[in-house]
Symmetry: C2
C-alpha cells in the first residue's frame, strides 16, 4: 500500500492537544462525574477528540474494565438460512444494553463447535447464547459451563440451562383452530418425524382442538411424512386418494406444504376452495411465493433471539433460576390458502 498505516489516535494525543492530563480525557470521554472538571475543560477535550478523530480502543477498555461487553452467539447458521432471524433479534436486543454479539458458526460438528466456543471464551464473552436451527434436545460441550449460557430453539436434555423454545403445542392448536373456523371438519395432518419435539407438540395441539370440537381424531388422516416437498407430495396424494378425503390439510412444515400444493393442483382441485392448506415455519421464500400464498404458523425466531438475550442478561445479573424455560408463542400468518 502506498498509504502508510496511520497511527491510531490515543487519549494521550487528545490530552496533549487539549492541554490536560490523559486522566482528564478519560473522565470527559466517559462522562464520569465522580471527579469534577470545569465545563470549559470538557469542551476543550471534546473538541480535541473530535478534531483528531479519536476512537476508543475496545481491547484496552475491556482489559482495564475487566468487562468485554460481548455476548457470544453460537449457531449452525449456514445449514438453515432462516435462522438468521435469531441473529437479528438477538443483535437488536443486545444493542439496547450496549452489548455486542460475537457470532460463532459451527457446522453441527462438535469439534468445530468446541473450537468456536473456545474462541468466544478467549474473547471473554460475558455469556453465550446457543441457538439451534431446529427445535431439539442438545448437549453442550462442557466448556460452555464456564460462563452463563442460555439455549435458544433447543433445550438441555437434563435441564441444566435456561432455554427459550417455541410453543409447538399452541402452534398446533392455532393451525387446527383456524381450519375449524373455516368450517372444516375433516382435517388431515402431515407430520414430521414423530420423535422430534415439533412433531409431538404440533400433533398434541391438533388432537386437543379436534376433541374440544367434538371430533374424534381419525388415524387415517395422520401421516408422518418425510420433511421435504416430495414427502409432502406423497403424503398429500395418499390423503386425497382416500375414499373420504380431508377438506383441509395441516402440514407440519412449509416445504411439505409446497409438495402438497402440487398433489392438490394435479388433481384439478383448487386452494383454498376445494382443499385448504396450512403450513408451519413461515419460510418466507416458500410461503410468500407459493400460489396461492400459504397461510402458516410462524416460528418466532427473531423474538426467540431477543428473549435469549433477555434471559442471558437476567442470568448474568442473577435474576434468573438456572433452569428457567421460556416458551414463545407461534403466531398465525394469514395468507390465502385457508
Amino acid at each position: 500500500m502506498s498509504k502508510t498505516t496511520r497511527k491510531q489516535i490515543t487519549m494521550k494525543d487528545v490530552a496533549l492537544r487539549a492541554g490536560v492530563s490523559r486522566t482528564a480525557v478519560s473522565f470527559v470521554l466517559n462522562d464520569r462525574h465522580s471527579v469534577t472538571l470545569s465545563e470549559e475543560t470538557r469542551d476543550r477535550v471534546l473538541a480535541a477528540a473530535s478534531a483528531l478523530g479519536y476512537r476508543r480502543n475496545a481491547s484496552a477498555r475491556a482489559l482495564a474494565q475487566q468487562r468485554s461487553d460481548w455476548y457470544g452467539l453460537v449457531t449452525e447458521i449456514v445449514t438453515a438460512p432462516f435462522a438468521v432471524n435469531v441473529i437479528k433479534g438477538a443483535q437488536d436486543r443486545a444493542l439496547v444494553d450496549e452489548k455486542y454479539l460475537l457470532i460463532a458458526s459451527t457446522e453441527s460438528d462438535p469439534a468445530v463447535e468446541q473450537a468456536a466456543i473456545e474462541r468466544l471464551l478467549e474473547q471473554r464473552v460475558e455469556g453465550i447464547i446457543y441457538a439451534a436451527t431446529w427445535h431439539r434436545a442438545v448437549t453442550l460441550p462442557e466448556i460452555a459451563r464456564e460462563v452463563p449460557t442460555v439455549l435458544v430453539n433447543c433445550f438441555d436434555a437434563e435441564g441444566r440451562f435456561p432455554a427459550v423454545v417455541p410453543d409447538e403445542h399452541a402452534g398446533g392448536r392455532r393451525a387446527t383452530e383456524r381450519l375449524l373456523a373455516a368450517g372444516h371438519r375433516r382435517i388431515g395432518l402431515i407430520n414430521l418425524d414423530p420423535a422430534i419435539p415439533a412433531a409431538v407438540g404440533r400433533r398434541l395441539g391438533y388432537h386437543e382442538v379436534l376433541r374440544e370440537a367434538g371430533i374424534t381424531p381419525d388415524e387415517n388422516l395422520e401421516i408422518p411424512g418425510h420433511a421435504t416437498a416430495h414427502g409432502g407430495y406423497d403424503a398429500a396424494s395418499a390423503l386425497l386418494d382416500l375414499a373420504d378425503p380431508p377438506t383441509a390439510i395441516f402440514c407440519a412444515n412449509d416445504r411439505m406444504a409446497m409438495g402438497a400444493y402440487d398433489a392438490i393442483k394435479e388433481r384439478g382441485l383448487r386452494i383454498p376452495h376445494d382443499v385448504a392448506v396450512i403450513g408451519f415455519d413461515n419460510q418466507e421464500l416458500i410461503a410468500e411465493y407459493l400460489r396461492p400464498a400459504l397461510t402458516t404458523v410462524a416460528l418466532p425466531f427473531e423474538q426467540m433471539g431477543a428473549l435469549g438475550v433477555d434471559l442471558l442478561a437476567a442470568t448474568i445479573a442473577g435474576e434468573s433460576t438456572a433452569t428457567e424455560t421460556v416458551t414463545v408463542d407461534c403466531p398465525l400468518l394469514e395468507r390465502v390458502s385457508v
Copy 2:
C-alpha cells in the same frame, strides 16, 4: 447466581504454579524460540497451564501485539437469508490465516451501517469486507476508508475499492448453452429489472450464445418480469400464450421460475418434456424442492466470501492494487427441469 464468577486464570497464576517467571510462560505458550528454555521447563509450564485451565486473554494480547486478528464483515444479512453463505465462505477462509470475523449486520440503513462500522473500528479490525445481498453499485460511508476494505457482490461506483463480483455474463451464457445443448431453439428469457447489473449481464450472455448458434434473438421472447413468483407466472403465461411459444424458458431468478412452473403446469404441459426451465441464483429452498427440481445457475456466495477474504489479506499485505476486481464464475447446477 449462586455460583460466584470464577477468577480468570492468568499467566501469572500459571507461572506461580510452574515455579517460573511469567515471561517464561509467555514464551512457552506462544512457542517462541527466540529465547531458549529447557524441555523440562516447557513441560512444567504446559502442565500447569492445562491443570489450571488457562485461556489466553484476547484483549490483552491484542493490546500488547497491536494487532487484533479480526476482520470485519458488514452485511445486510437479514434481508437475504441465502447470503449467509458469504459468511461461511469468509469465515472458513479467514480461519486458515487465524483471523476471525466480526460480523456487523446493517439493515440497508445508512445510520445503522455507519454505527456498525464505527464499532468495528473500535475493535481495531484489520480490514473490512462489505457484502451486499444483491449485485449492485454501492457507496460506502467515508469512515470505511480508515482501514483496508473490499467489496463482495457489489462494487464502488467510482472503483475506489477492490471488489469480488459474480460473472453474470458467463452465467447467462451457461444457462443458454445448456438449453441449446438440450436441443431448444426458441428460448424465452424472463429477466429482472433491466437496470441492474444482473439483468444486463445475464441478458448479454443469452444474446451472445444465441447469436453464436446462428439464432437471431426474438424480442417477443424477452420479458422483463417482476422479480417474484407472481412476476414469473405472469411472464411465463404471456410467453406460453404466444402463437409460437418457446420450448424453454430461462428465468433470471428462481422465484420467477417457481411462478413459471405454475403457469406451465396449469396449461397441462410437462417439465422438462414439453417446456424446459432453467433458473438463476440457486435458492436451495426453492430449486431443490420444486417438482421437478430446478436446474439453475448458482451464485457462488460461499466462494465470493472466501475470495473476499483473500483479496482483503492481499490488500493488507500490499500485494493488491487499490481497484482490482475479481469476477467469480457462476456454476450450473443440473437438476431435472432441463
